[in-house]
Symmetry: D2
Amino acid sequence: MTSFESDYNNGAHPAVLKHLIETNDQQSQSYGFDQWSESAREKIRQACQCPQADIFFLAGGTQTNATVIDATVANYEGVLATTTAHINVHESGAVEAFGHKVITLPSHNGRMSAIDLISFLRAFYDDPTYEHMVLPGMVYITFPTELGTLYTAEEIEHIYKICKGYNLRLFIDGARLGYGLASDECDFDLAWLAAHCDVFSIGGTKMGALCGEAVVFPQGNAPRHFLNIVKRHGALLAKSRVAGVQFDALFTDGLYMQIGRHAIEMAMRMQRIFAKHGIKLSQSSTNQQFAELTQRQMDELSQYVSFETWEPIDSEITLCRFVTSWATTDAHLDTLRKALEKMSRETDRGAM
Amino acid sequence: MTSFESDYNNGAHPAVLKHLIETNDQQSQSYGFDQWSESAREKIRQACQCPQADIFFLAGGTQTNATVIDATVANYEGVLATTTAHINVHESGAVEAFGHKVITLPSHNGRMSAIDLISFLRAFYDDPTYEHMVLPGMVYITFPTELGTLYTAEEIEHIYKICKGYNLRLFIDGARLGYGLASDECDFDLAWLAAHCDVFSIGGTKMGALCGEAVVFPQGNAPRHFLNIVKRHGALLAKSRVAGVQFDALFTDGLYMQIGRHAIEMAMRMQRIFAKHGIKLSQSSTNQQFAELTQRQMDELSQYVSFETWEPIDSEITLCRFVTSWATTDAHLDTLRKALEKMSRETDRGAM
Amino acid sequence: MTSFESDYNNGAHPAVLKHLIETNDQQSQSYGFDQWSESAREKIRQACQCPQADIFFLAGGTQTNATVIDATVANYEGVLATTTAHINVHESGAVEAFGHKVITLPSHNGRMSAIDLISFLRAFYDDPTYEHMVLPGMVYITFPTELGTLYTAEEIEHIYKICKGYNLRLFIDGARLGYGLASDECDFDLAWLAAHCDVFSIGGTKMGALCGEAVVFPQGNAPRHFLNIVKRHGALLAKSRVAGVQFDALFTDGLYMQIGRHAIEMAMRMQRIFAKHGIKLSQSSTNQQFAELTQRQMDELSQYVSFETWEPIDSEITLCRFVTSWATTDAHLDTLRKALEKMSRETDRGAM
Amino acid sequence: MTSFESDYNNGAHPAVLKHLIETNDQQSQSYGFDQWSESAREKIRQACQCPQADIFFLAGGTQTNATVIDATVANYEGVLATTTAHINVHESGAVEAFGHKVITLPSHNGRMSAIDLISFLRAFYDDPTYEHMVLPGMVYITFPTELGTLYTAEEIEHIYKICKGYNLRLFIDGARLGYGLASDECDFDLAWLAAHCDVFSIGGTKMGALCGEAVVFPQGNAPRHFLNIVKRHGALLAKSRVAGVQFDALFTDGLYMQIGRHAIEMAMRMQRIFAKHGIKLSQSSTNQQFAELTQRQMDELSQYVSFETWEPIDSEITLCRFVTSWATTDAHLDTLRKALEKMSRETDRGAM
């Protein structure tokens, strides 16, 4: 069955797999010092236009978030995030496991608002009891968000400016970064992003790698002894080549952005297919599309395609997630289209 | 100046001090095994009608909360609390320091609603991704709440029943327990409370002691090796007599409840005084009263009495906290009354 | 240059790589529920003769150790290990990061002695102050040890019996398990091991995989909510297939033990080559050989082969590590042999 | 029965109790800002000749150690201590609970040796794998040590110089500081000590207070946001006056050192009494004396005086601890003397 469940339900992008195969017989250093990690770092520095960036490769997203946060804030500091943020909801308390509070702000369809942020900070430092509170040390945002939405350059600039004013570091979780940058609605590129935060990640797992996330400190501003911290988090790959080789492939000849653009193109076609059948989609301009379906629609569609139920909207309607990726093909979308057509015909018949 | 700032701004209740003096020359065991701790435990067991209760004395409130929570939930479990809960706002992340997430539910004037709780739990276990989330292991409520409000017996019963259904432990933080139980609006007593939760604390610091909080596991259900856990939290008093002697005094001849009733009586008089001058108070039937004052009113009153600013209501009005305790006297209230009368006269004059 | 630096300086074993290639185009479930993880689990259960075993795949060794320990001991419990244990020396405090003390016993060439263990436990529980101490909750041993040595079946039986008597769980870290089981000196097999501990790991990274370690709870005794704990440690692979496919290959047609036997054969040849040139080796019957070299010998050898300096023995002699693996060839050993011969000739010449 | 079990088995020193009584009726600020804490801080600054010192009062010793260490080292750093150090043995893992490893060096009758320290540090930074290890961030020593021994000024100077060379902070745990400074063998005073470390504590609980320890950062070098850290550790006293008043008394008219000298005088008399009866004492020049007793001697003595068994020496002899304090009187020592005389007579009789 055609699966739209996630962007991590397939293997490696062919070019990534090819690079794993062609490098397999070579020996290498370990723990991040292999030749492909070095090469990948150089390519990422060029793509970010940050010749001095410090770059590290970790295996997974949750460990990347927990490690970056723990390395960057003091032990008495917490991290500001929206209520829907991945670190607040779907990481089983990995941030708290290292002693840091996730301080929540409202989620505006996945996004943090600069107004909410500045209001929180002003009230916090006006409060005479703030010595009894967790000090905010970092702002964590996701790009794209967990709900497929995007920040504009202006919004990020605003947040980053507030961060600087309050001595907060800004961390942008880019687990699906390429799908955000490739969106038609994105008004900046990788180099701009790198210049507007203190640290960000470039997701590999959801962008064609088998595993691996890159952590970028764009101004060469990695915390002291970051490798020890990575190791302490159990996040230092012995055969670091497994991540290095894959990122080396992803950042060769613009593959990373190609993957992003392909998935976005597929997602936009998917939007039109849903729209044609009167299915309401929540706002998303990236590779995750959220459709509002009745139980009957879910039952019928799931005979042909698989997808994830996201959350109930009301007693009748459920939000369902349909995800595209580098691996999505025209044939997959045709299957979806036909399933919708069949569903519509039967609904019409039912209505007669 | 007369201070209504807090219930921890004075020394020990005279009877508590007297007991410290009269026992000072005796030698004792340490680490909780002194004779006064034993005696205090026995008196608390009687007051709670829990002959089998396990009881421990710790120095302070935040360490009591962090220790009880950490001892009672698994490391992958979090604790449910309202957004205004002391553990969520005013403990500098002590719960998170031991790796546990505070999962927040809405605050209804300080209270958790059973409806919110059951809704959260149903949605949680319906969510297919709950293996990526922090499991709820405990419900934490305060009695009275941080805002001076109370739960009814029915409300606590409802919450406790839900806890049992979902294998959650119920912890009632009683840092000001006596002021809650003594309120006219409270429809249960200490013994009832002890029968309707898994663990609760009896605050001493705010009820006439210099320091000290009692932790009660009413069914003799203290976690295994609880003393090691207390020690690990840096919360095991070497000269445990300092807490034991004070609680021994507080639970002799009903002193604990006397202290509570006196403070409540003073608080009710205070309410009437404010009301007479048209000052709006937020709902509170305990020893913390929250008055809505303009900046001008705050300035004038603070020439005669001191109090705490709690939080801004709008651009003109600030919520201010006035607290009574065992040490509040008629003279203190007279000072407040006169200050209000003077303020009213001047306002009248200003209005002419 | 021929490298004997480690067993993680090469790519994947050809059969592992082949399985990654042939499965790449298939879609799969994630987070451990993919078809290859299921298949690998079934094969490991058969190899262990533990039909009821709970098995999980994590990315790396340090995260495996930290996760298993944290999941298995209470928060007030520590883990007993030798002073040379990996968790005590080379994991940057990952165990302590989750709040657990590593309590050390003497290292007997890498091994823990049952006598030391029982002596410690008796003294511990005789000590009236043990409520002020970290309670021992687990024994951690490595097989083979960090120094290439092995435990006999009798030694493990003895330790496991002590563990049962004191309610300690026994965890055997098998990061190089196959190289230990394949040693001529090993007097038991995988099924025996699985029956003589509470949990053990099967290392993939050093045995031919690109990454991945299997955690086995042989009696189906995985801690409750183990997946949440894995996630909390940042150790849950989204594309779990990357580990599942590799272990599926490693446990097909006895590959895991073949890899072990090949490396041991190479190591024994290496022993003979060193011995022939009068180089003293520390006791090791596995794939890690430790040679005592002078600075001059190190300088000369390192022109032809690379290896790791382990630790200084005295002012003249340094212990150096030479490691074989599935990837070591006769040609590699010939290079070593020639380098030693050349060194000997020059030493003879120098001596004339 | 006369108890020599500990220096925390009695009430408060009369002068301390008197100050608690005479200040009881006054109102005060809380959380460290009360007038007596301010006064005590000023007196301690004078006693230390450190006008710029930052001083904080916490309730107990273990929480003081855990808080100071956690506030002063980075999360990836550990603390160097001897194997017999209180933080390594008797704090139930409070240091590890906050994620820090205790890295042990040999104990020389309780003391750390500068030679061991420098050897460890050189080897550590020579080790190419140190990025996989816990970085040393602090040296923790106790004065006097857990075994009643002392460091000379020269020894502390040597250790402090090494600390500076390796960017380690030096923390001196002075839970019994006064008993060390008052010893005849101590060749420095409080002001000298304050000039030769980065942070130290002044114990109150064992020196005549009911509870309370002072933390001194002599160069005004308290870590940023130290109050938040104290609160996060559950160590911030609401009624801080309980510690402030007591330290105010202890540092008035030289009481702290008087208490020390009295206990030392008593301990030296005790030494002579034991010596007269041929009882061997382990080296200690402070208020804790350790006597080597047979089981028979222990049985007979314990009819008249109580003491602590410390640890078995061999199958026949047990080390037993006899402690003096400000509360020890001539009458107590006479009881001990008579008990020893009676024991000797019966031994003589038994020998006839």
